[in-house]
């Protein structure tokens, strides 16, 4: 056995939940150790949010330039079509990831967090062995005993048994680091991960088709919000096979053949070069000794209370491991909270709303209740909607023509804002103000009473609130 460590707080996982928990614990003077087998930053930073946004940016820029090459546009004409080199684009993306991952390491160091690299294996709730790269030699193993354990192991891509990953059948992780562009890509799953990736590849000139078992794309968002995305897919010739099941896959020299079935119709075959399986994510509960820790489960997730306590004394769990929404910012908020609770402060995780953002084309942002969700709770509501097409700033950025809008949902009796949604280019940047309004308990009059700078896209928010009150100015 190599080194032996006793620590006040052990954080398992260096993603946006774990590293934030560790930094906050360190700031609060707790002796903190973080274990991570991969690079620091977790799925979000290494193979999720950040790299996918980089790829989406590249794809959007390339599609723009192509438009200018095809025909004069905004007075800009390109004499030759743009050339695209996926390898260079991936390198650029990797550079951003490297920089951010290094930044996390620096922040952890500043907070005096000890980082141990390796795979963790728990033998009981407070004791684990960390195996380094050549983990079988005893010297590369570190024994850690902790007073508090924060589980932040995150999630992994879910797989379908009939679509085993490997070869040209890939998950979003591989899709972010392809060596060359496929000509034809089939994406199984039209949730936000599949759509973000598929749309980016479509912009890069790949022939993309979606296969979705449900009868609509983005099933967690309401139909009106998703319509501009459906429109974009239609306009750009991206086929979407709804209510269609993936039955099986065959890999050959010429690529991949996916067998699908729509309803009771005869099965048909979709040929492609790469098959991206993006059917969602499942909590990472396997292979690190969770079963030795005697914590209660909640379906596939670890059961926690409002303080992120598990059923085992002084064992805490945060982020994707504990349930929906599986979002980085939720994990970070829980991590920060747990560190403070361990340090003796009184906290609880009870946000009014957690914003969710899809970087589709156009972007979608949703905070709080949709009109349908509010009605399902028997709330009497008023709603107000304002199109980006009537917003000056949107038009100057060519962001007004995609059918996008901002929608506000408020209680009819008190005018308390309980939901805000938007769809449209650049709409994701409005998510902060939306979340703030709901978290502060704003009423429609508060939104209207806040002067928004002109010309910005944010002006659409008070306009939507005024529409809910029955007196929008600009429509």
């Amino acid at each position: 056995m190599g080194a032996s460590i006793r620590t006040q707080v052990l954080v398992v996982g260096g993603g946006p939940g774990g590293y934030v928990a560790a930094i906050r614990a360190g700031q609060l003077g707790l002796e903190t150790t973080l274990v991570e087998a991969d690079r620091l930053g977790g799925t979000c930073l290494i193979r999720g949010c950040i790299p996918s946004k980089a790829l989406i940016h590249v794809a959007t820029k390339y599609a723009d330039l192509q438009r200018h090459a095809a025909a004069p546009h905004l007075g800009i004409r390109l004499s030759a079509p743009p050339q695209f080199d996926l390898t260079e684009a991936v390198q650029w993306k990797d550079g951003i990831v490297d920089r951010l991952s290094g930044g996390v390491a620096g922040l952890l160091k500043k907070a005096k967090v000890r980082v141990v690299h390796g795979w963790v294996q728990f033998s009981d709730a407070k004791t684990c062995v960390v195996k380094g790269e050549d983990g079988e030699t005893p010297d590369a193993q570190t024994l850690i005993h902790a007073e508090h354990v924060i589980l932040a192991t995150g999630s992994v891509s879910a797989a379908l048994p009939q679509l085993p990953l490997g070869g040209d059948v890939i998950s979003s992780t591989e899709a972010l680091s392809l060596a060359e562009l496929p000509q034809r890509l089939v994406v199984v799953g039209a949730g936000y991960i599949g759509l973000e990736m598929g749309i980016a590849f479509a912009k890069l000139g790949v022939e993309v088709r979606f296969v979705e078992a449900m009868d609509r794309i983005l099933p967690t968002y309401d139909a009106a919000l998703v319509r501009p995305v459906e429109q974009w897919l239609k306009q750009h010739g991206v086929a979407v096979h709804l209510s269609t099941k993936a039955l099986g896959v065959e890999q050959g020299d010429a690529g991949v053949s996916l067998t699908v079935q729509s309803g009771d119709a005869a099965p048909q075959t979709l040929d492609c070069d790469k098959l991206l399986v993006a059917i969602g994510r499942r909590p990472n509960t396997q292979g690190w000794g969770l079963e030795q820790m005697a914590v209660d489960m909640n379906g596939p997730f670890v059961r926690v209370d409002a303080q992120c306590r598990t059923s085992m004394h002084n064992v805490w769990a945060i982020g994707d491991l504990v349930g929906e929404p599986m979002l980085a910012h939720k994990a970070s908020a829980q991590g920060e909270m747990v560190a403070e609770i361990i340090a003796g402060r009184r906290r609880a995780f009870e946000p009014n709303a957690i914003a969710a953002v899809c970087f589709t084309e156009p972007e979608i942002v949703a905070v709080g209740l949709s009109p349908d969700q509010a009605r399902a709770q028997h709330l009497e509501i008023v709603t107000g909607q304002f199109p980006f097409a009537a917003n000056g700033r949107s038009l100057t950025m060519q962001a007004g023509a995609d059918g996008g809008f901002v929608r506000v949902v408020a209680r009819a009796d008190t005018h308390q804002v309980i939901g805000i949604q938007a769809v449209g280019a650049h709409a994701s940047e409005l998510s902060g103000e939306f979340a703030l309004a709901i978290e502060m308990g704003a009423v429609l009059e508060d939104i209207v009473g806040t002067i928004h700078a002109h010309p910005t896209m944010s002006e659409t928010f008070p306009e939507a609130a005024m529409a809910a009150l029955g007196h929008a100015i600009h429509i």
Partner: protein, 440 residues
């Protein structure tokens, strides 16, 4: 004059209805704002509901034991201003229909059999703020519907959590019933004001922790005590002394003292006993340098007198007690204590003692285990003097008894010697004439 209907607010725990436990008011009572109206029972607790306004009770909508749904009318009040019910539509369906006392009868008194009316608690019901008088009475809490989460900003929620306040109990004055910091302050004040009595919100735990750096005199004391307890094996010995005679002498001397003489406490007599007895026990009137391995036995009696000062324990030293009579000792003890308390004691007045007396007698206490004032080897503690029934020659007689609780450095002083020493002191104190005789 208008009517204000007080409805049952959401009192938390996700309950939809609540039982009336006790009415705290009756029809005709004049209630002021925040005065308790009724105790409501939930599964977990009795909750006292204060009146949101000042007014006269017109109607109680239920009897003790009735279940009332959250949001239903509880009490109708006659208030100045327009109230929250428009005139002529008052008098929601009544269970306890009581005749109005003359004084409380409104100008447009409506029959209590009038049909029930929907009373909105929303913003519409709030009068224009320009009507100052009216707005003062209708600053009613916005009533939350059952299941509604209390509305408050993250900062207010966090503060409530730290204070141990359950937000469902707090009424909100902001838009849509939003709870502000001011609402939380107001809630805390009412809760504090209503402390004594029953049916309260749960007691808040005290969570403050004050961190104080141990510096100065306190650090000195801490170091000295730690050293003494770590290095010295203390031998404690307690004996009771019959001080009836001594106390009679002391009272007599005090009664006949001259104006220039100080009042005598018991300490000079104890000192007198030590002066007399210590020469026979030289190992007790000594200091022990345990690093050098040397004991110094003193012919003189330099007696430390443990003194409580505002900053902590200080031990000024009464030097050459053998040269002073009881009056001089009393004067010197007082001078040293004053100097120590005012921080003016000189360095030599705070060092060089060969034995120490510590007295907690005035505070009471049967026994103490004093810590030796190293490098000394003995400390004599004085406990409270009490009159107790004692047997004397078969007769139960009241005697003034007092314990001496002493500690000795067992490395230097044997238990047998220590006990014998205390017994000799006891004998001297119990026969006070011998304190002033030579050759005993």
């Amino acid at each position: 004059m208008g009517r204000h209907i007080v409805k049952l607010p959401d009192i938390g725990e996700g309950i939809a209805e609540s039982e009336i436990a006790t009415w705290r008011v009756a029809v005709g009572d004049v209630v002021s704002e925040d005065q308790p109206l009724v105790d409501m029972l939930t599964d977990k607790a009795a909750v006292e509901l204060p009146s949101p306004v000042t007014g006269t009770v017109v109607e109680l909508h239920g009897q003790a034991g009735d279940m009332i749904a959250v949001g239903s009318a509880l009490v109708t009040l006659e208030v100045d201003g327009q109230g929250n019910v428009s005139a002529g539509k008052t008098g929601a369906a009544s269970k306890v229909a009581a005749p109005l006392p003359e004084a409380a009868k409104p100008a447009a008194a409506a029959p209590s059999s009038a049909p029930p009316t929907k009373v909105s608690a929303g913003p519409e019901a709030t009068p224009a703020p320009s009507k100052r008088r009216a707005s003062a009475v209708t600053a009613a809490p916005v009533l939350r519907k059952p299941g509604d989460k209390p509305l408050a900003s993250p900062a207010v929620r966090q503060r409530a959590r730290e204070l141990g306040v359950e937000l469902p109990y707090v009424s909100g004055s902001g838009a849509a019933g939003r709870i502000t910091h001011a609402d939380l302050d107001a809630y805390l004040e009412t809760r504090e004001a209503a402390r004594p009595g029953a049916g309260r919100a749960p007691l808040a735990p005290r969570t403050a922790v004050e961190e104080i750096k141990v510096i100065g005199l306190r650090r000195k004391i801490a170091e000295a005590m730690q050293r003494a307890k770590q290095r010295i094996p203390h031998f404690a010995y307690v004996e009771e002394i019959d001080v009836t005679e001594l106390e009679a002498l002391r009272t007599h001397l005090n009664a006949m003292r001259r104006d220039d003489q100080p009042k005598l406490s018991l300490l000079p007599f104890l000192l007198r006993a030590l002066v007399q007895v210590l020469p026979r026990y030289p190992q007790i009137n000594a200091t022990y340098d345990d690093e050098a391995g040397t004991v110094r036995r003193y012919a003189a009696v330099h007696c430390g007198v443990a003194t409580q000062t505002p900053n902590g324990l200080v031990v000024p030293v009464l030097r050459h007690a053998e040269t002073l009579d009881v009056w001089q000792m009393a004067a010197e003890i007082r001078r040293l204590a004053d100097a120590a308390r005012s921080g003016k004691a000189a360095r030599e007045e705070l060092s060089g003692s060969s034995i120490t007396i510590t007295s907690l007698g005035a505070l009471g206490g049967i026994v103490s285990t004093p810590v030796i004032n190293a490098p000394e080897v003995a400390i004599i503690g004085v406990n409270k003097m009490v009159e107790r029934p004692m047997y004397q020659r078969g007769q139960l007689v009241p005697r003034l008894m007092m314990n001496l609780s002493s500690s000795f450095d067992h490395r230097i002083v044997d238990g047998y010697d220590a006990a014998e020493f205390i017994q000799t002191v006891k004998s001297a104190l119990e026969h006070p004439a011998t304190l002033f005789m030579e050759g005993v």
